[in-house]
């Protein structure tokens, strides 16, 4: 995972108009963003499309990033917005896929079962709890950052994450 300070410096260079800074930002952020989008939409092909859209929106919004603030909450918020807009459009169309995507797994539970079983258990956790759980345990967001990203209080984010972890452990026991 890229250092937060490196990302801030890259973002500042990107705002100055350096295409190399965009390339480096893409390399640093594409993978966690793709994981996040896959966890949200549960469709890896769709997540790839959303990823491109998220980077385009990030480009349009680059002025709104303030140097000194962490980059990842800003980028993840834009990606989440892209997913929400897409979901709104898709709600008028039938669901495309029922595949089980390759969800990222929190390190705390990695030893409890094999990866397939963990991903299956994780996909059974409710969407809002899963999102808070992954943001905290996989991508290392603080609860305050999760709160600002999701529009909830920090303690509500903590509650969602801990309930998500409890649900995940329960799912693993029942499997």
């Amino acid at each position: 995972m890229s250092d937060a300070r490196d990302l801030e410096a890259l973002m500042t260079r990107y705002q100055r108009g350096e295409i190399e800074a965009f390339d480096e930002l893409y390399r640093a952020l594409a993978r966690p963003l793709l994981q996040y989008l896959t966890a949200l939409c549960r469709d890896s092909v769709q997540a790839r499309d959303l990823l491109q859209d998220a980077f385009l929106q990030m480009h349009r919004a680059r002025r709104s990033y303030r140097p000194g603030l962490p980059v990842r909450p800003w980028v993840f918020a834009i990606a989440r917005h892209v997913w929400l807009m897409d979901r709104r459009t898709r709600s008028r169309r039938p669901a495309a896929s029922n595949e089980l995507p390759d969800l990222p797994v929190p390190a705390e539970v990695e030893r409890l079962a094999d990866r397939q079983a963990l991903a299956r258990a994780l996909s059974n956790v409710t969407a809002d709890r899963r999102e808070a759980l992954l943001l905290h345990h996989v991508w290392g967001f603080s609860f305050a950052e999760i709160g600002q990203l999701l529009g909830i209080r920090a303690d509500a984010a903590k509650l969602r994450s801990s309930r998500g972890m409890a649900d995940l452990r329960r799912e693993l026991r029942t499997q």
């Binding site: 705002q15 480009h59 919004a61 002025r63 800003w74 980028v75 600002q148 509500a156």
Partner: protein, 222 residues
């Protein structure tokens, strides 16, 4: 697909980014951006007094319930506009509790000032002037809210509001409060039915206009 693979930046995306990669200056923090509204807020505060004069019951109300209450209302309006500017930056959105708190504080503030003003100096409108005064106060509140609404709307649109309706409601309410802060310094009718029926309705209309404006202006400032 697995997450272990390297994801290269697609050429098409890179080309689109490169095509439009003009340098941009980052936006200052909301607390600094809101300061550009200060001249508008102050002119609203002094404008009605300068044009129409201070309310007739000002000596009975005292400094605190005239200028003090209006200054507090103006500050609350500016804080709401700053909250809208913060809401417009991705990753720093406000929690539901903060948004709810802002609206409840505004309502309680207006109710408290109205109640204290009515207790200190109860003034009713003559029945024959009721319609005229109602139209004038409602119209003036909405009209004077338009400059801060338009300006904050532009500032918000220059950022990247992910929830434009919420940002619009916040700066609409803030603009309405700033407008009322000035107009109440001239309007001496403290009857709560008039204050809530005309002034507060004017603030609510400004709030609604803010929602519409933010949704309509989304993306225009980028």
């Amino acid at each position: 697909m697995t997450f272990d693979e390297n994801i290269p930046a697609p050429d098409a995306l890179r080309a689109r980014i490169a095509q439009d990669l003009a340098p941009v200056s980052p936006l200052p923090p909301p607390s600094r951006r809101v300061l550009v509204l200060l001249p508008i807020a102050l002119s609203l505060l002094y404008g009605s007094v300068w044009i129409f004069g201070l309310r007739r019951d000002a000596p009975a109300l005292g400094l605190l319930l005239t200028w003090g209450a209006s200054l507090a209302e103006m500050c609350l309006g500016l804080i709401l506009c700053a909250a809208a500017l913060r809401e417009a930056v991705p990753g720093t959105t406000l929690s539901r509790r903060m948004i709810g708190g802002a609206f409840v504080t505004s309502v309680l503030g207006v109710v408290l000032v109205t109640w204290l003003t009515w207790l200190t100096s109860p003034t009713r409108i003559a029945p024959e002037a009721l319609a005229w005064v109602w139209t004038a106060c409602l119209g003036a509140t909405v009209l004077t809210a338009l400059p801060p609404l338009a300006f904050t709307g532009w500032l918000v649109a220059r950022a990247f509001p992910l929830r434009p309706a919420i940002a619009g409601a916040l700066y609409g309410l803030g603009s309405g409060l700033m407008a009322d802060a000035g107009w109440r310094l001239f309007c001496h009718f403290s009857d709560p039915t008039h204050v809530f029926g005309a002034h507060v309705v004017g603030i609510a209309v400004a709030c609604g206009v803010g929602v519409g404006l933010a949704k309509g202006m989304r993306g225009t400032g980028r």
